[in-house]
């Protein structure tokens, strides 16, 4: 929570790119400068056990190379400083995907690359909805402005019963209010 309160909340978050550019300094400060009460007011660096989630993201403009440094002190896949910062950070986050467990995720102060929980039991849910609400589940997709494919499930009424789901009824009530 300290990270959110002391970095995210007090800085300008006007655009995604500006946030990306600030991340490096935030991580550095959090890891290497900020005293921690839980560590008897010592700095995290050099006190905590190596943790892959404590990262230093360097996006030094003007330098020929930048790198992400893990808490082990190892640089991971150096990249060109003139690369798109958003893509650079995305790449670093991607390089970590699949390495985290639930416990590790709790340690992350800010996650742009969230844990992607696999969807399960879709067929079971579709069967149950069809039986109870007489609706068919269909998977659809649209293209986002940045080209990402967005997916959704939609329930199509097999036959109209004139009745809507409880949520829709409640929302209609709100709309009429």
């Amino acid at each position: 929570m300290g990270y959110k309160r002391e970095y995210v909340s007090v800085n300008r978050l006007a655009t995604a790119e500006s946030v990306m550019r600030q991340l490096a300094a935030w991580f550095d400060d959090y890891n290497d400068v900020r005293p921690r009460q839980a560590l008897k007011w010592k700095v995290s660096a050099g006190v905590q056990k190596p943790n892959i989630n404590r990262l230093t993201v360097r996006l030094d403009a003007g330098n020929s190379t930048s790198a992400v440094k893990s808490a082990h002190g190892n640089f991971i896949e150096p990249f060109k400083a003139d690369a798109n910062p958003a893509e650079a950070v995305a790449g670093r986050m991607r390089s970590l995907s699949g390495t985290g467990s639930r416990g590790r995720r709790r340690d992350r102060p800010l996650s742009l690359k969230v844990y992607r929980r696999p969807l399960r039991d879709q067929a079971v849910m579709a069967t149950a909805v069809e039986a109870q609400f007489h609706a068919r589940l269909e998977n659809i997709s649209v293209q986002a402005a940045d080209g990402a494919t967005l997916r959704a499930g939609t329930f199509i009424p097999i036959r109209s019963t004139g009745a809507l789901c409880c949520c829709c009824t409640a929302l209609q009530t709100i709309a009429r209010a």
């Binding site: 995604a16 995305a90 996650s111 742009l112 293209q143 967005l150 959704a152 499930g153």
Partner: protein, 79 residues
């Protein structure tokens, strides 16, 4: 009823979750999809937690909701 996966979640693409910066426009596209395929009398938005915050932020770019119900969105991160 449409249940979208937010970008970087579920089966949707996108590498990064942007906590509403891009998702607001994503929701605008989903509402447009609804109107293109089966124009309804009304579109209602319903979201919880992260989804609630996305619904709220999408109100700035999507004016076609008849109503929206949100439950425990995260607080604004600007002061």
């Amino acid at each position: 009823m449409l249940m979208p996966d937010a970008r970087a979640h579920g089966e949707s693409g996108g590498e990064l979750a942007t906590y509403g910066i891009q998702e607001a426009e994503d929701l605008h596209r989903w509402v447009s999809w609804i109107y293109e395929h089966d124009p309804p009398q009304c579109v209602y938005g319903f979201g919880e937690s992260y989804g609630a915050a996305l619904i709220l932020q999408s109100l700035a770019v999507e004016k076609r909701y008849c109503a929206a119900a949100v439950e425990v969105p995260f607080p604004p991160q600007r002061r």
